[in-house]
Amino acid sequence: MVSEPVQGAAGASREQRVWQTLESVMDPEIPVLSVVELGVVRQVRTAADGRLRVGITPTYSGCPASEVIARSIRTALDQDGFTDVTLETLLWPPWSSEWVSETGRHKLEAFGIAVERRTPGNIVCPRCVSAHIERVSEFGSTPCKAHYRCLECLEPFDTFKCL
């Protein structure tokens, strides 16, 4: 990606342009999903000293992707000319899959990962959309995922846990 100004951003505020840059930063484990869609970018603001503050939150306390995400955000902002940025970690309110945007949810499902919401019984197979599923384990390949199996198409699939 080249470091040229975001198109059509001339009239946009600095914060809006930062959000546009962040929308191009992908999750290292799920490269179809941006860190904004994942819901880990909480806020972009200009502090009293004029510096930009980008508030990010970890999905899980020990998620190894958190450090990669922080570095990717820093690199993308540098490339787009935002060099006066402070990254701050915001733990509250804690992240849950409810923070994944609707667009993010559709992208995850197209990628083969279901997303659990607070309302129970809402998980469907991302391949055949059947609700006839069973949980194999609440712990999957990464801390944020549980392991399910579809009883219609018999395929295994990952689910983003509600947390």
Partner: protein
């Protein structure tokens, strides 16, 4: 508002706050190290993944807590310095966390007893006067609910399973029960932290832990072991012999190669 309307709470000293957060952080760190050693040795793929994921959650919680402890202390020690450059006598983890993994029943019993304590403690700490500690607790609490469902679920399957699994789980309970007294018995520091509104009320934690654990034991068809005299005080730095061996392995790399990075 008149001064009498809200009783003034004596602020906690830096030393007390540091010690208290170390107890929480060290207990998570040592539990994470124990579970991490099981990677590749779980009884089935799903359990291997679960134990590894729980270890990672606990390590993340330990990192947040030890970083907070370092900031409270204010002497420039970060979470790495606290994890890797202290000796056994300076660790403040509950002695239960450092007990060896043993067989799967021992691992599950240890996790179950600790998970129940952690869950109730964080539930209370989410309302702590220390805002940073409250935020960490509220985040950790969500992860701990999954941990408890895993360990309590296995306690029932093992306890109410085969004759062999039942016998092994009984043996594990007999062996580890004596370490639960430390989780629930408040010492002077626990009491001071409760008074200043940072720590939970010890009596409340004991009551809720008893309720939670008793229900799990009953469902698992396991007898609650008799109370035993408890000579260890991990939270005051008096540990069993197991901690030194664990630290020798955990701390080797940063001690042998100071300042090393990936």
């Amino acid at each position: 508002m008149s001064p009498a309307a809200e009783p003034a709470r004596a602020p906690a000293s830096v030393e007390d706050r540091f010690e208290y957060v170390l107890r929480l952080g060290d207990t998570s760190l040592i539990a994470a190290q124990r579970l991490g050693a099981l990677l590749g040795h779980g009884p089935a793929l799903e359990e291997d993944l679960a134990l590894g994921n729980i270890a990672l959650d606990l390590l993340g919680q330990a990192r947040l807590l030890l970083a907070l402890a370092g900031r409270i202390e204010g002497r420039g020690r970060d979470e790495d310095a606290l994890a890797f450059l202290r000796d056994a006598g300076q660790f403040r983890n509950m002695a239960l966390a450092e007990q060896p993994d043993g067989d799967f029943a021992e691992t599950i019993v240890r996790q179950c007893l600790l998970d129940a304590w952690r869950l109730e403690t964080y539930e209370s700490l989410a309302g702590s006067q220390d805002r940073e500690l409250a935020d960490i607790a509220e985040k950790a609490l969500k992860e701990c609910r999954y941990h408890w469902r895993f360990s309590a679920g296995w306690l029932v399957r093992l306890g109410d399973g085969t004759a062999e699994s039942h016998a092994r789980t009984c043996a594990a309970l007999e062996k580890l029960w004596r370490f639960t007294d430390e989780l629930l018995s408040a010492d002077a520091l626990d009491a001071r932290m409760a008074v200043c509104g940072i720590g939970p009320a010890p009596a409340l934690i004991r009551e809720r832990w008893e309720t939670r654990v008793s229900a799990a034991l009953a469902e698992a068809k396991l007898e609650r072991p008799a109370h035993r005299h408890y000579p260890w005080h991990g939270k005051r730095g008096v540990h069993t012999e197991h901690l030194g061996h664990l630290l020798a392995e955990m701390q080797f790399l940063p001690r042998a190669y100071p300042g090393v990075s990936w």
